[in-house]
Symmetry: C2
Subunit: 159 residues, 2 copies
């Protein structure tokens, strides 16, 4: 196996395992449990679900994979803190978004070849990328995987 | 920059940033806050601190970097659940271990060259490594980084 293939596998394995972790966890939590805060005056489970969908949604244009699926979720779940938005989707709607998004991302990711993962993402200029070749698409997956695990650690407290 | 160098930088940057995150977080928490559970009947902060030290300690022989520093912590903080061990070190002792270990790991990690990171870790046989070249030392850092972020997400609730 060539080095780029090994590296892409290492990081995508972590991403896929983390997505599955959260998926399994979500399936054990009721809508009522998602309404709870992870700690006193901390974020609710439903906010974190919306937050993860929004953060992953923002990856789509960043990875040059098309348009974001749910731009209406970016403000309430990324720009604003929990309980700051007037109205947010129901847990049922968010669960549906999570599933649809997971399928789209899997389709898109499975189509990339190892060398594609080492291209720059869309927030880096060509000049900067020459000096900073680590700012590639795979690095986006890496940082979103650690971010996802951070929040899985929190949502698991709701069980 | 060669591909192995890029990949090693990507993952070690994540590891170093995560270690710093936890370090900064630990410095904002009092010993009393560490005694609290992250949620009702969940792990205490002090257990998670010991757990992270023990998990990172187990990496040392796995990465062929010498002997574990704190083998006495493996049982209470990895094999046993929180509150199952009769006696555990104080928060003060654990904080000292965390700092010493962080310095040793940094020293050891800084000495490896990118190609060293793609060698197999010590729990993989030579035969298996030919078929599974992703089971390398860098992958150990990758999985421990996501594990660390998972618990940072939990410990942050104690603030």
């Amino acid at each position: 196996m060539a080095t780029k293939e090994i590296m892409a596998k290492m990081i995508l394995d972590r991403w896929n395992a983390s997505i599955k972790n959260f998926d399994d966890l979500l399936n054990t939590l009721s809508d009522e449990q998602l309404q709870r805060e992870i700690g006193p005056n901390k974020n609710r489970g439903i906010y974190l679900l919306g937050h993860l969908i929004a953060v992953h949604d923002l990856m789509i244009p960043l990875l040059d994979m098309g348009q974001a699926m749910y731009p209406n979720l970016h403000k309430p779940f990324v720009e604003l803190a929990d309980k700051a938005a007037e109205k947010i989707p129901s847990a049922k709607e968010l669960r549906e978004h999570w599933i649809k998004q997971r399928e789209l991302l899997k389709q898109k990711f499975d189509h990339l070849k190892p060398e594609d993962w080492f291209e720059k993402h869309t927030a880096v200029s060509d000049e900067d990328f020459i000096k900073e070749p680590h700012r590639n698409k795979l690095n986006v997956i890496l940082t979103r995987t650690t971010h996802l695990q951070y929040h899985i650690g929190q949502v698991v407290i709701l069980k």
